[in-house]
Amino acid sequence: MTTTSTMEGTGWRSAVPESVAALAWAYAFDVLAAADLAGEITLLDGRDGQILRRGASHGGGAFALAWQPRGQILASGGADGRVGLHDAAEMEPSFLDVGGWVHALSWSPDGRQLAVAAGRSLVLLDPSGTVVHRWDDQPSTVMDVVWSRDGSRVACAAYGGLRWYTAISASPQPVRAFDSQGSLLLARVSPDGRWVASCNQDASVHVWRLWSGDDAEMAGYPEKVDTLAFDRTSRWMANGGTNEISLWDFSGRGPMGRAPRMLPGHDVQISALAWQPTGDLLASAGRDGGMALWAPGPSARHTEPCSRLHLGSRVTALVWSPDGTRVVAGTVDGAVVAVRSVTP
């Protein structure tokens, strides 16, 4: 019933001091966290955008946020080479030096371990901030970290590909390496755990099947591809790289040998993509601040966005509320704008 979902206009509008670098919505309560390039972490009420708490955390800029699944800890990271652990039950966050810019944070599916991309290291922390393991001296700066669906393996994405390590009884050497020429900017594992995909500086997307390692590279985008997202069913993967969304069908034998569906609707390069966690809506945004909601569905005929909005400046982050009723965009101007996807 995707046709009943319409963008009801702005739900609320709030602001943080600097350009939004990351957004994350808590699972346990209706609170949204925003990290900005001034280094502040702001907590906003998901219902109305009221600012609940704000604090300087990462000098030089905060880049990454991750809420603990089934828990109440918010992890943050940034240019100061520290990880902040903000426990909702305590007033003051605790900080831990990990060395190097923190570009990405990812909790294991059970929430017991936090993987940190810190400079040229992949660092595993427990929820109290104790280092469980470090894999230092990666060939280049780690840009993203991903977990296998069962939480047994963790991978870092960097120049040259993905390197997988065992998280339980940590292996010093990678247990698998998925090589890729060029520099990986972001990686995602499909929710069903069967695929991992990366988007890359050299204007390509690379996908690998877990764990056969069968892979395919989708090259030829006009620019670097810096956003990519799987839908909740793992059938669809959307990525940017142009002003059209590429939608790849992962059903059956996967996207190999298939052409993607293209969704035109933005005037400029896509800068952010996010699938609704409860339904089939895809939110997209461009470098000019244009934002659209799509209900692509299985039929190739649905290629028009179901609604559009213009936020005026480049959207850097998009995140859905866990209940799928709101999607929030953060912009380079520090605007944080919630859009309702369904009539409440």
């Binding site: 600097e18 350009s19 670098a21 390039l37 030089g60 800029g61 880049f63 240019a79 810019w101 570009h103 400079g119 280049s140 700066t141 120049y159 020429q181 060029g182 520099s183 890359n200 500086q201 050299d202 390509s204 090259a219 006009p222 620019e223 670097k224 390069q269 470098r287 480049r314 850097t316 380079v332 101007d333 520090g334």
Partner: protein
Amino acid sequence: MTSYDQKVPVTVLTGFLGSGKTTLLNRILTEQHGQRIAVIENEFGEIGIDDALVIDAEEEVFEMNNGCICCTVRGDLIRILGTLMRRKERFDHILIETTGLADPAPVAQTFFMDDEIGAQLRLDGIITVVDAAHLLPHLDEVKPEGVENEALEQIAFADRIVLNKTDLVDEGELAEVRRRITEVNRLADIVETVQCKVDLAAVLDVGGFDLSRALVLDPAFLAEDAEHQHDLSVTSVGIELPGDLAMEPLNDWLGWLLSNRGVDIFRSKGILSVDGMPERYVFQGVHMLFDGTEGEPWGDAERSSRAVFIGRNLDREELESGLRACLVP
């Protein structure tokens, strides 16, 4: 799209440790007060200015997966410039200080290979600071096979050479240093200084990659310096040809040149007279990355073509006969 003038200028400062690079950097930061300047440092310097944003970087060179082996970029700069561009707080100028061992090519190519960076920032120039008293031993250093002489490369890539510590050498030595620099790079202006006391416009407003600025290719720089020509690994080759070039063979030749000799051609610049074109055709290149456009109309000026190639193991005969073959018969 941001127009040229709205793009934030970026200056690359390079040079060996002890050349006076940090002195120049501190001078820029002190004298350009009122400007918001971001500094990206690859070398731990002593920057004593509070209102500049200083970011440390570690050199990471990435090959681009496009079949072009000289198309390398700096991953660390892409990340840092990416966050600088997204800040609400705007900067008037960005300075990138590289180590004396850094290859300038990936730094320059980053601005042409990453469209997001190229849309918002412009590379204004590569400034190489040279210690007049210590340059020659660096240039003459014999490197093992396959190892680059970084001092040579940094001079070859420069838009401007700040020839520092001129008080430590006598006139004869200074003339020899100048001659050797010009031998490698005929395009770069040389600014002589003591303690890096230079007019900042000479280092911050260079327009080294700007095709709309009139390229001044002095004919004196183009002539072959027969007296001193000896076996040099990195040199400049200047060519001047009267008459008009035919567009089609010219395109073919430039295409051939960049794909077959692009690895060895560090930088190239030219003003060409193309048959049927009332304007000058101006171009500049870094390795295989090439940018050309229409310049000023010729008007009553005498039409001729001038080009300079700076690079390794350049074959003057091949370059000259290649360009000559494009002349309209």
